[in-house]
Symmetry: D5
């Protein structure tokens, strides 16, 4: 059986080989680009139709179609603290602003959390004369502590 | 000398005692609420005026005023992986979506990172009939790898 | 300011000194015993009334009343893997049965998790001729992955 | 020799390929579903009959039959703290409620532990108008500290 | 409240000051020497009578009597791998012989464990012309895996 | 070259295939059962005669004979804290009773250690009406600190 | 697909086999030697032209050309603290002088950091009668904390 | 006795209180600014004269004078990986460029290291129209591996 | 009770205050200098006479005399890998030459270890025109593996 | 390309197969035995002549000759704290005597370190009627802290 991790490696290679984009793959799959990228990288299971649509564009075989449908064992960082600078900055944001985010959630909502399950993510480019900006929006349902 | 950490503890206590809010403190200081919260929790240095404005509303003394102006040694998590559920969910987002964010930044901008220094953060409540949502926006300047 | 951890230590001491039980404290507070124990050990914030009811029975002062109302920074294990045998057995259950629980949740519900926020816990004694049994029930709302 | 881990991978693949369920496999094996799932994932040794029954339904060969009978080296988490959200929530329960569970066991039974060896586990779906619930029951014999 | 750890420090100091032995303390308490030492070091709760008997011989006050009766949070090593050579050798035994012990338990008893709860320990000196020997006996009830 | 670890895997497989026991293998080798098990699991080097005797009974080839004679790089636990419950209980004994063992060695012998090199180990079953017991004896020469 | 790590291994081997130098490779690629070395070791993506120029001199095939163009997952140390003495000395510099560097950056620039993205590195030999010196220059744009 | 760490805290406080700079302190002490900062932060021992000169400008007492002369136990990071962003960037440089630096040292010097003992450090501001730059120079004697 | 660690701090301070040397202290105590230094730093228990001799020269009181006689809990490094460069170099020797030392011990002695208990240590200065040398001799009894 | 680690495994196997000794290999190579052993285990690069001399005696091919000449990435312990008892004892020496060695180096030489680069190592057997001794000499140039 091909694992989801092996499928992700095949997908990255095919994407470079064929000059595809995540945005284009998302369109082919018919889902938002962040969700599609996460799914193709092995963090969400796809439906059979989604998997087949992706595999067709990527010119990959039935093993990949099966792997994309498997229920994932999630968790994509290879080390507890990420070493890649692009990913590390988000860990740094957590180090510097984690307690701030916690305080502001509690002030606005009371005791509870932002769901990471009923959740969507957006990454977009915002033009700015002082240098364009990366704007990442984390948008999750509030879940109050409830006995 | 009072440390920034001790000052933050005093501030939390005074805030509860006086029934203040982070939003109210931000208004008194004249800065955005996320920045002000982070600064009062010891992650940013305040100017003398900002520190005095905060201390006055919080009814705290000159030691706190000095502490708030000190250059911080940043990093607010007490463990490498946070245990508090409200903060942990953001670490989980990084575990599940970290490589997705990396791929999308590279697709939209090329090789580089979102700055965590030239950076602003917003936490807001978005009404939703299926349950209100926590929307956290991370907004940093794109920095291309540049030799 | 008294921290929630210091308040918990005071509470444990008073409980032994006065010969109280968690069940009795829960009755005084008017909440389930598991919730009340967790709250008195510093893992949930109490309302002012609950805190005052607890402090009165425990013969403790106003500092404890304030501490019990504070929003907690949750996470009660002092080491990543607990060393106390009574607590360790639950970590062992996770080591041996974690993937089993995951498979069964996915088989019965699809992709998602058991909420640890919209959640209740029960610990009870079940008589058994072959030796009484500890029955711990973890009961959380199912949260489907939902974009 | 095929390891128990390799056998588990074969079993997961066959289960998806043939559209089987853990419940169905448990019926074929004639043991409770939680026990059977744990055994097929490599955490319990099966008897020869159980292993053969499982292998037949899964259409797998004699190597798997042997592997399922081996005495396991138990412990299924690949990291000290699990990263998969479905499993992590149980670790979080331990972080938030571990000391509560300990206190309540001691209050009801005295000094001792819930056995994780003389132990059974149940995962079931409970219908609830506010959203169905995952109910996990941990049921182990009480073992008093006894010199 | 005096913690069990603080009580243990007081006890060690008093023992040196008064020239007492663990064997003598065990006799005063009326329990086996290994159990008594573990209890005085904070790893077992004592009954009121035992605690008072120990405190009297050690010439310590009522705070110690209370501390000795408290339910312990067990786990006495300050680091995951012990650095003290006398204790480390036992960790080394586990590194070199752990799987051997596991194999021999399974061969003699089937699938299960030696209980560390229904358990007793003995440390004794055995005369030997080639150099006296430390003989440590670990004696626990066998617990079979039992669903 | 076959490593000692690969040889151990071959040996476990052959032992199951041929229905042998560690006790029987020890008899064939002519050494105590604990020593023989440890050696066959790769923690002690065997003499040529011992290795050949073991390989003959196990019906294994000359590569195994060589591997069994190699000087081992000792240390058999795959994680710093063992996760297998049968082995973990001995780590727990060290957590709960480590300082007790240290105190009793020093009381009976003075400053020094139990050797883990000039050392023998025994695991035996002791019948007990309340449930048979696992009795593990650790028996090492006392080594005084000596400059 | 050949990974960047596998490509780096091929490159090191070819470099030794053909007696090439990093300086020579940098000249062939037309980029600074530090940048070129980092890119060939898998820490920067190359353009198609650069990758082809490098592969030609190294007499390596098209798989290497593709690998060199891939976006890297950066982070080259195999352990959190490096063990190789040549690399460790730089970690030691950070242990001994890290806070000094921080203080001096803040004194000369205010609150902010040296960018590791808009950054260049130089390693050169400086003749010195008391023994030649390794001079490593880290040169990054100052980024002020800016909301 | 005042530790070097406590002295460093006193020094930082006095420096803020009196509006001094590290550059000014270095001048008073008569040593380079990087060395002086490191020494005042507790990473180098000062001579009696240097310590007295520093203490005089800082208006601190004889305890600080003694502490500054003590031989340090070096190592200033509180965590294995630094969390403060200003310091972290240098760890990131090591993650991304560590093997590059190693290769270039070996190419220019042969097998050996840059000394971190016979070593000097400089941090300076370099004006740049595209944004001023932080230039950190690490300058250590080359030490060849020599038996 | 004064701990051995607190006594060591007092001793270091007194040694600096009185201008004593470890060599001089060893002479006063009548034991080798390495042993005496280790004992005064808390790693060996002293006899009453030795402790009194040391305390007299150091002009310290009876609390120190008692502390020096206590049985130590050994292990003097504050982190698993030492950060102080003078101590780290010995860890580096172990990283680079550990397996070499192991091979040579086994070649010269057979299977066994150098005792760290029946052990003595010497640190001396050896004049050398190319720069004086630190010569550290580790001298321990060979202990063969012996069942 | 054969790595130095793979070459080391080949060398160990050949050494056993041909009944060679490290001492004999050192003679063939014409270098000290400790250096030669370290080099053959992959911790030092050999010259072409040395590599060929070693390979000839070991009856190994040209791939090994190349591997032995490669610049090593040093660091031979597979875990941060070694588990093999023969190697662990040297880590224990560091735990017990590390600060003693540091104090004595500083007393005899001033502030600085023993070089682990300009360094030689000797392991020899010293006859002793009370049991032969392992004498390990670490001999490195003193390097004073020098700005």
């Amino acid at each position: 059986m091909m694992t989801k991790k092996e499928a992700a490696a095949e997908i990255r290679a095919a994407k470079v080989r064929l000059g595809l984009t995540w945005a284009g793959l998302a369109e082919a799959v018919g889902r938002p680009v962040s969700w599609t990228t996460a799914a193709l990288l092995g963090q969400h299971p796809m439906s059979k139709d989604e998997a087949e649509a992706a595999a067709e564009v990527l010119e990959l075989g039935p093993e990949v179609v099966v792997a994309l449908q498997l229920q994932p064992m999630r968790g994509a960082l290879e080390t507890v603290v990420p070493t890649d600078p692009t990913i590390y900055r988000f860990y740094e944001v957590l180090q510097v602003y984690g307690p701030t985010i916690k305080e502001l959630i509690h002030e606005q909502f009371g005791d509870g959390i932002m769901s990471a399950i009923n959740f969507r993510l957006d990454v977009r480019r915002e033009a700015d004369p002082a240098g364009d900006r990366v704007v990442v929006t984390l948008d999750g349902k509030f879940l109050p502590y409830q006995w």
